[in-house]
Amino acid sequence: MTITAPLRVGSLARVNPVAKLAAVFIVSVTLLLTIDWVSAVVALGLECAALAFTGLPLRAVVLRTTPLLIAAPLAGLTTVLYGQSSGQTYWAWWAVEVSDGSISLGIATALRILAVGIPAIVLFITIDPTDLADGLAQIVHLPARFVMGGLAALRLVGLFVDDWRALELARRARGVADTGRLRRILGQSFALLVLSIRRGSKLATAMEARGFGAKTRRTWARPSVFGARDWAVIAIGCAVAASAVVVSVVTGSWNFVVGG
């Protein structure tokens, strides 16, 4: 169940998931408006500073952001090799052209991926799905049927993993595991789909038997509160976004994506 296990340490664990979602949304949308490296550096710097105050173990953060730490430089390198050229050209070979323009674009790309990705991952790994559902239903007022249904379905994900392993072994036992890998995976996926639908409909009946979907107005056992701490997280998100924009515009490097 590691995919659904949240990191429940540090001060972020007590922040309402809705506030975290909002903060991530504000920072990402702002940073996606421009492709300069100044705004990305400012945002990334401020984010790392903020991260230091969350009390999250560094090891866990690095571990969970590993895919991003690998992907960002690779994306940057690709942009350096193939990105739009301008200024002096240093090296050219077939479609590859390394120039002043493509180098700065590459650095900007790598930094931007980190600046958008790191806060998103850090805030998400500290979200407990149950708390998120409570927040979405009580604060954002999404329909309870939709939110609780999604939450219950999430619990089945762990069972899918077990089912998949059992299906794999069962196919070997039945003598049909030697055929092409693709065909086997397709057949097995279909079997998993059938099993999931059966599990899902049983769970739906169990939920219905516990009064889910009744006409009565639902109450919430766990209050989802939105307090000063949560507003502060949103404010930090706004501050990071604003600082990045201001510094970038003042230094003249702001580069609006649309129409730029």
């Binding site: 169940m1 659904t4 799905p129 149950t130 939450l151 219950a152 619990r155 762990g158 069972l159 089912d163 392993r165 059992a166 299906l167 072994l169 069962a170 196919r171 070997r172 036992a173 039945r174 003598g175 049909v176 595991a177 030697d178 057949g187 079997a191 059938v194 099993l195 059966r198 599990r199 049983k202 769970l203 009946t205 169990a206 939920m207 219905e208 038997a209 516990r210 009064g211 889910f212 979907g213 009744a214 009565t216 107005r217 639902r218 109450t219 919430w220 056992a221 766990r222 209050p223």
Partner: protein, 498 residues
């Protein structure tokens, strides 16, 4: 527990036909249940017990799900219109956990019924105490055992303070310890709440002391018998046993003694394990230092507590997962030209050598019809078409599945699925058959059929290895017991994998 007023039930010529079926699942029921009565509902599989419970719980669905005859009333009103008046506990422990934490899961029903927050948490604590589930409120539900999950679901049901508690084979998927655990929890709940109770179960002896009335549904509809447990069980023992109900004193005939017992020839050795360490892939080693010898015409049962690694041992012996240490070697008699270590065989090489039957038959189904399911193995071996047809016809008859040859395996009943999964393993005549809990959740009729089948297989010279908690099964099949050693330091590290 305060706040519970027991409910009454009235059925008037009630029946239900599922959409797409020609015959009603249940019909012509006329029953009155007084508030506070405790009923054990019996009947052959297919007599509509679960359908009746769903109707009482108000979750049978509307006109698109099927057609209703007559009337079913709880407290004089339609059960679908009064959610929370009845609470339903179902068979599958994994299908009933809704939320990730123990407290939240129990609170779920109360939330849906609009109970105030303080009252919800008061009821959550009270309900967990009533079912004896002593775990913190934020304990992860995924880490509970099967019996604990059922008690959790029961706590969720009684937290809604239903006047009618409905239990649909609540212990069918549990080991013997889990069965007692859940039965005791139900007893404590019934005493504390005074709610009307309706239990569907095959295991009469387990529930007998708890109920004060037994109702037996007839196979073609209507009520077969209705009275006190003593009356019914005395007068109807033979008929109930024939209908699949477990009744004390009705046992299977044990297998005839092994042919090889009378002779001086030692049985032919097929597979031997020496100093074996086992564990699931990507999981810690769960048991070590194991030795076992498997010979033709012998039945071995693997026993031991939950979490000791019995199922892992079955998978390892079945050549499905690699050994983690030591040696598992097939003798030339079993390998017949293949490598001496079963895990190195191709999937197709397992056919005819080792057949494995899992605890959950559904994982093993790969074909759209029962006939194709049985033919899949022989086809993978490229046997001639007419030989396959003969083999499949023979198996269909032997397993009493001939009328269902064209049915989809997933639509079969529990007992039929079990027989089919055994049949798929038999189709290629493997020398060694490995079973994981073959008798779990089966009614008495299927159980007797399985025993007879195991006896035949042994007489034909198959070696059988079966993981089981079922002592009576081990006795009736004349099996040799092989006990899984308890390994404290390893078990602790491995959690509750079994």
């Amino acid at each position: 527990m305060h706040g519970t007023t027991p409910a009454s039930v009235t059925l008037t010529s009630w029946g239900w036909r599922h959409a797409g079926r020609r015959e009603p699942a249940v019909r012509d029921l006329d029953v009155t249940i007084e508030p506070g009565e405790r009923i054990l509902l019996l009947g052959a599989s297919g007599s509509g017990k679960s359908t009746l419970l769903s109707a009482l719980a108000g979750v049978l669905g509307g006109a698109e799900e099927g057609e209703e005859f007559g009337r079913v009333l709880v407290d004089g009103r339609n059960p679908a219109q009064q959610r929370g008046r009845s609470g339903l506990l179902m068979q599958d422990p994994d299908a009933q956990v809704v939320l990730a934490r123990v407290g939240d899961d129990v609170a779920f029903g109360c939330e849906n019924l609009g109970v105030e927050r303080d009252e919800i948490w008061r009821r959550v604590r009270e309900s967990l105490e009533a079912v004896g589930l002593d775990r913190p409120l934020d304990f992860p539900t995924a880490q509970l055992s099967g019996g604990q999950k059922q008690r959790l679901a029961l706590a969720g049901v009684i937290a809604m303070q239903p006047g009618l508690v409905l239990l649909d084979e609540p212990t069918a998927n549990l080991d013997p310890a889990g069965v007692i655990e859940v039965r005791d929890a139900v007893a404590s709940v019934a005493d504390q709440t005074g709610a009307t109770l309706v239990v569907v179960e095959h295991r009469v002896e387990v529930w007998r002391s708890l109920v004060d009335r037994v109702i037996v549904l007839g196979n073609g509809g209507g009520i077969l018998a209705d009275g006190t447990p003593d009356e019914i069980l005395r007068a109807e023992a033979t008929r109930l046993s024939a209908a699949g109900v477990w009744v004390r004193g009705v046992h299977a005939e044990p297998c005839a003694p092994e042919a090889s017992d009378d002779q001086d020839v030692p049985p032919e050795l097929l597979l031997s394990a020496a100093d074996l360490s086992i564990g699931r892939p990507r999981s810690p080693v769960i048991a070590a230092g194991l030795s076992m010898e498997i010979a033709a015409g012998r039945t071995t049962v693997i026993t031991g507590p939950n979490g000791a690694g019995k199922s892992t041992m079955a998978l390892t012996v079945g050549g499905l997962i690699p050994v983690r240490g030591g040696v598992l070697a097939a003798t030339p008699a079993l390998a017949a030209g293949a490598a001496d270590s079963p895990i190195r065989w191709h999937s197709r090489e397992l056919l005819g050598r080792i057949g494995s039957v899992f605890q959950s038959p559904e994982h093993q189904f790969i074909a759209p019809t029962v006939r194709d399911e049985l033919a899949a193995g022989p086809r993978a071996l490229n046997e001639p078409a007419d030989a396959i047809d003969r083999r499949v016809d023979e198996l269909l008859a032997r397993l009493r599945l001939d009328a269902l040859a064209a049915a989809n395996p997933f639509t079969l009943s529990g007992g039929q699925k079990r027989r089919l999964s055994v049949g798929t393993a038999l189709a290629t005549r493997p020398k060694l058959l490995v079973f994981d809990e073959p008798t779990f959740g089966q009614d008495a009729v299927t159980w007797r059929e399985l025993i007879a089948l195991f006896c035949e297989l042994r007489a034909e010279g198959h070696a059988i290895v079966a993981v089981t908690h079922d002592r009576e099964f081990a006795r009736a099949t004349g099996a040799v017991e092989w006990r899984m050693p308890v390994q404290h330091e390893l078990v602790d590290a491995a959690g509750d994998l079994s």
